[in-house]
Symmetry: C2
Amino acid sequence: MNQQGKLYLIPSSMGEGAVIGLPQYAIEVVHTLDTFVAERAKTARRFLKDIKTPVPFNDMTFYELNKHTDKNERETFLDDIFEGKNMGLLSEAGCPGVADPGAEIVALAHRRGVEVVPFVGPSSILLALMASGMNGQQFAFTGYLPSKPEARIKALKREESQSIAHNQTRIFIETPYRNNALIQDALKHLSPYTRFCIAVDLTLPTQFISTKTIREWQQNPPPDFHKRPAIFLIYNSSQKTYKAKKPPSSKFKGKRRR
Amino acid sequence: MNQQGKLYLIPSSMGEGAVIGLPQYAIEVVHTLDTFVAERAKTARRFLKDIKTPVPFNDMTFYELNKHTDKNERETFLDDIFEGKNMGLLSEAGCPGVADPGAEIVALAHRRGVEVVPFVGPSSILLALMASGMNGQQFAFTGYLPSKPEARIKALKREESQSIAHNQTRIFIETPYRNNALIQDALKHLSPYTRFCIAVDLTLPTQFISTKTIREWQQNPPPDFHKRPAIFLIYNSSQKTYKAKKPPSSKFKGKRRR
């Protein structure tokens, strides 16, 4: 019987022109691999070329994991590992399994008793959190905000109230062509004391990261970020200050009810 | 007037024997720096030696940021940047600003209008999340669980109910000498259907990562992880299945009240 292979989780670069964020120890292992699970073989090949893999593309096998992949087929994706092959799992951009479909393959690996080895690499969520200066002791990532204006405003307010209630940094994303609409809604509907971080084009030469209070952003509006990959963070720790700013309507209501 | 410097956020290795997780593009910049903010200068020097900085230690300046540092002194830590110096912020292990005091310095940088540049590097939280196979679209990190047994059990159950309520992966840590107690409590008090990931010694040669349901862990208990750095994740997505397991007490109560 062959010795069982491992599944390496390989973070890829964050887009064209981005830095190679994979450390040397990981690059050396990836150079030995010829079998990959990836969302698109084309993007995977481009990344493998960028890190100068010595393996010829003709000798490589790619299993494509996307919405067209049949469920039964997915279950077979790790079969090669039981033939003794090491395999790599690649994301379209950033870390596989974090805000991408790769988590399903990692879960499959655990179910089948395959050793999973995650490599250090670029994650926009983590880079933005580090760079925001917000609370890194407690935070939550909630994915995409809703696309409809009313639902988005409601979601922004919910993010703010969750930040206050749990003393959490709240991290979320938006489809790049709705960035400006989201920023406008945040500036209009959040508390002036809430800190708001806008992180755009992370690890690219055009990287922009800035944290200001909503009031400061209102006074110095951000540039146009239309169609640029962005990540947003809010944090409001001042539970008491925030509550004191509100008119004491609930108290008066209580009195009236009597 | 000098051109203003930048603040580089430099993730360090995860302990002795750990891989160098800093990518080449970042190492090249760190090699040009001689002024750092760090929790302990000693640990910072060891890391800079590991990545073979060409700058002699005698030419370096370290500002130590820890519980002994005076608040007014902290406010001056970035003054050199206004003299045209680039500075580096280092954590004891992993990413500065994520579950360490560095966030305060990053917040100061934003307030003073200093450009912040986060580098890709090792984060135990992110490595564990990737490798857990759990939901990477929605997750929350809650830091340390309480140390007292009763409070810890309550916190574990709260983590589980939050995972169910928000379809979130819940990530938390424990002081290493209480790992085994936490694992025992999780195996005893969480739902048998909850998935529980134990990630130990990340990026070290002794790395262990495994996700099983609580029932599977009960049948195959984990080895002894006493005093080894660990991170824990739970995920339970099966809202309906889980609720069906509970007796329908609330309904009966409602009827009785009438």
